[in-house]
């Protein structure tokens, strides 16, 4: 890193810690300034040396404890206790700055809050966005199985995202490739010249990620040498239990849920939705729509598609419905852009949580993003369902895929979003404009026999009315246009392999009017504060 860059970061660091009173840990630093975790540690070290008296530092001490049997120990200690803590360790131990802060917080969790929030944010970004957590680029622990994609688009359904600190996907990745996965130690671990290095490595690195996830930042204690092999699978089990409360361990569950936890806005929305659903069949869709609308209010990206998955069991058969909500906001072209583009992913993850949380509920409902448009859409759905008994039958074993046309390309988003699909049944909302591209849900069976549902941009008009349109869809799919991908394991047990091969794709239109008017529409010249500051 260049000198100037270092100085700039140090300066910013100082203001973060002193003015905003933030706890800055090396992980946060690494992700925020896109430097490697080792560089981040060095920066913090430098910072602490320069400002020894102004800030408090928390150190990580790692090494073998003196007591027998020797255990490998990683401990966070504040600066004053550093020397004392070193006495507990046998011989050499590594000492690194973990975090700097204005004062040592009373609640140890505060040390970890900032980076947790940050990690959450990163995971909420659209799946197509390759951020530093997804590709693990700054982690000292590397995984040889991880493939990085130059364009940033994730590689279909392999496990490229399944790693990184705090990523539940890691559990999945390592369980899939348990034997093959070789975790390399963080460089700092190798400072220990222990003969048990190899064993120690795996035992150290894996629990560390777990600790990151569970949020305790006190002490990690690992039984080092022999328990190694057993501890690994045990941990995995715990993780998958944690991440997928439902018994279905689909990838969407694993990935989606990580980020949907505890974000205030989303969680409140979810609560509402779930509550309204559990109320039973009679609940009107409005509650859900309102709830979804709330979360949607934050979204600004014209091109995002919100995918609401809802699974409901019907007479023993599984039914899944996929709704694509096109959250095109026409009025954003006057208002200055409202926010960060990572909302769609948040929505996705929210929805996937949603789905797993409502597995048992009998009535099927659709979630829409727009209050204004909800009623017409509901009607459309009904029409489709009734008029298309064939498709309905298929539902019991198949996904129903609905696609929505997005209003042309990004450049003409000021036009009223077009809701026309080629299915003639719903004339209600069909707008006459002629989009060239749209998002389409594509379902296919991957090489592992799982059903993969993905959202892709489709180039030209495709007649989705076709009862078996999957072929034409796949023909026109441009892989480079993949906006989002959802991977689902085939959930229902009773699904036969033959039905898998011929998924029915229903099509419908989600009507979409611009919805809310720009808040500052009264004065088009007035800038918006959100165009200057990003949400954190």
């Amino acid at each position: 890193m260049s000198e100037i860059e270092t100085l700039a970061i140090l300066e910013e660091l100082s203001s973060l810690v002193s003015d905003r009173l933030q706890v800055v840990s090396y992980k946060w630093l690494s992700r925020n300034f896109l430097v490697s975790s080792n560089a981040a540690k060095k920066l913090l070290q430098e910072f602490v040396e320069k400002n020894k008296n102004d800030f408090e530092a928390v150190y990580t001490i790692a090494g073998w404890l003196k007591k027998t049997p020797p255990t490998y120990h990683i401990r966070l200690v504040p600066q004053p206790k550093l020397a004392e803590a070193k006495h507990d360790f046998d011989g050499n131990c590594s000492v690194q700055v973990y975090s700097v802060q204005a004062c040592i917080p009373k609640d140890p969790a505060a040390i970890w809050n900032a980076e947790y929030i940050q990690a959450e944010e990163l995971f909420k970004q659209p799946i197509a966005v390759d951020n530093c957590l997804r590709d693990n680029r700054f982690c000292g622990v590397s995984n040889s199985l991880v493939k990085r994609n130059a364009e940033g688009a994730p590689v279909a359904i392999t496990v490229p995202q399944a790693k990184g600190i705090g990523n539940p996907g890691q559990a999945l990745g390592s369980s899939v490739k348990q034997t093959g996965s070789v975790l390399q130690p963080q460089p700092k671990k190798s400072e220990d010249a222990s003969p048990k290095l190899a064993l120690q490595r795996s035992s150290v690195t894996t629990p560390k990620t777990e600790t990151d996830r569970s949020g305790t930042c006190d002490i990690m204690q690992i039984k080092a040498p022999d328990k190694d092999k057993t501890s690994l699978p045990v941990k995995k089990k715990g993780q998958s239990d944690k991440t997928s409360a439902g018994s279905k361990t689909s990838l969407t569950n694993l990935w989606g849920r990580a980020s949907s936890k505890s974000k205030s806005t989303n969680s409140s929305v979810e609560e509402k939705c779930v509550a309204s659903k559990t109320n039973g069949v009679s609940v009107s869709a409005d509650a859900q729509i309102t709830a979804c609308e709330l979360s949607e209010a934050a979204s600004s990206d014209d091109n995002e598609a919100d995918v609401n998955f809802k699974r409901a069991s019907n007479d023993g058969g599984k039914k899944r419905r996929v709704v694509f909500d096109d959250s095109d906001e026409e009025d954003y072209e006057t208002a200055v852009n409202l926010g960060s583009p990572d909302v769609p992913n948040a929505k996705l993850s929210q929805d996937s949580k949603f789905k797993s949380g409502t597995l048992d509920i009998e009535n099927k409902k659709l979630n829409f993003d727009k209050q204004d448009d909800c009623k017409p859409i509901v009607k459309e759905e009904t029409v489709i369902d009734d008029a298309n008994p064939y498709a309905k039958e298929e539902f019991s074993a198949l996904y129903m895929c609905k696609n929505v046309r997005v209003a042309t390309s990004e450049k003409i988003h000021e036009r009223t979003p077009d809701v026309d699909t080629s299915s003639k049944k719903k004339a209600t909302e069909a707008a006459p404009s002629s989009p060239k591209r749209r998002k389409v849900l594509k379902t296919r069976i991957d090489e592992r026999g799982r059903e993969v549902t993905e959202v892709v941009w489709e180039g030209e008009e495709v007649d989705t009315k076709d009862t078996n349109p999957i072929k034409s869809v796949s023909e026109s799919v441009k892989s480079s246009n993949v906006q989002a991908k959802k991977v689902e394991e085939s959930g229902p047990v009773n699904r036969s392999s033959t039905t898998k091969k011929s998924p029915a794709v229903g099509s419908t239109a989600a009507g979409k009017a611009g919805g809310k008017k720009g808040t500052n529409s009264k004065d088009p010249k007035q800038g918006n504060i959100l165009s200057f500051f990003k949400r954190v």
Binding site: E12, S15, D19, L21, A102, C103, P105, K106, D107, A109, A110, N113, S264, T265, S268, L294, A298, V336, L338, G339, T519, N520, D523, K525, Q526, G527, N528, I529, L530, S531, F532, F533, K534, R535, V536
Partner: protein, 261 residues
């Protein structure tokens, strides 16, 4: 458990008075280090950031980080029930959905408890990057308030331009136009009356006076106000709160179509 004892209770009253017109509801975030608030006005044009550091309180106890959603109008109603010399203590229990304001009269002969219901507010926290501003103007806060008030009787917007000569506030309206120029003036008896201009680059920005006027409600908090301006960035209007922190207002500029105006 949260317990914040503020001897100078009137300060809190002034803070709330200064932001309640701008923001209806806001989350107050309490951490071990301080009491802070960040909120946008409903039209997302202005943002207010408040910080009261823990050191400024006579007693500050905040066991865990807590975010309390309050309706500022209601909070203001309650705080108005306190005397100007009263000591205000803010108390909240963990997991409670209320907050208690306790007012003690200076000679301890009257103690009042006001309990206010909290709200769940979905508010987004914005990351405000540290920026180098092209021009920083420090001037008496009363002077700034006067300028904004005067100009708003003529027009709706103010053009603030900072040059080597000084800072110029100008407006134009149906009845005419107005220009007020403040020159740098550091040769005054009291430092708080000085007008100090630090300029790296000239700037010329337009803002809605309505918001500026609303910011000047914070004038009682500080004798001086600092305007930090950069083209392409919101103006920062900062009132320092003595020994405690600050209240900063950010206002997005109006987009000028014709710079020659």
């Amino acid at each position: 458990m949260l317990e914040l004892r503020l001897v100078q209770g009137s300060l809190l009253k002034k803070v709330i008075e200064s932001i309640k017109d701008l923001v209806n509801d806001a989350n107050f975030d309490c951490s071990a280090t301080g009491f802070s608030l960040q909120a946008m006005d409903s039209s997302h044009v202005a943002l207010v950031a408040l910080l009261l550091r823990a050191e400024g309180f006579e007693h500050y106890r905040c066991d865990r980080n807590i975010s309390m959603g309050m309706n500022l109008t209601n909070m203001s109603k309650m705080l108005k029930c306190s005397g100007n010399d009263d000591i205000i203590t803010i108390k909240a229990d963990d997991g409670s959905d209320t907050v208690t304001f306790m007012f003690e009269s200076p000679n301890q002969d009257k103690i009042a408890d006001f309990e206010m219901k909290l709200m769940d507010i979905d508010s987004e926290h914005l990351g405000i990057p540290e920026a180098e501003y092209h021009a920083i103007v420090r001037m008496p806060s009363a002077e700034f308030a006067r300028i904004c008030k005067d100009l708003s009787s003529i027009g709706d917007t103010v053009v603030i331009s900072v040059t080597k000569e000084g800072v110029k506030f100008s407006t134009r309206g149906d009845i005419g136009a107005a220009n007020i120029v403040c020159r740098q003036n550091t040769t005054v008896d009291k430092p708080e009356e000085a007008t100090v201009i630090e300029m790296n680059e000239p700037v010329n920005l337009t803002f809605a006076l309505r918001y500026m006027n609303s910011f000047t409600k914070a004038t009682p908090l500080s004798n001086t106000v600092t305007l930090s301006l950069s083209s392409e960035l919101p103006v920062v209007v900062e009132y320092k709160i003595a020994e405690m922190g600050y209240i900063r207002f950010y206002l997005a500029p109006k987009i000028e179509e014709d710079e020659n105006e």
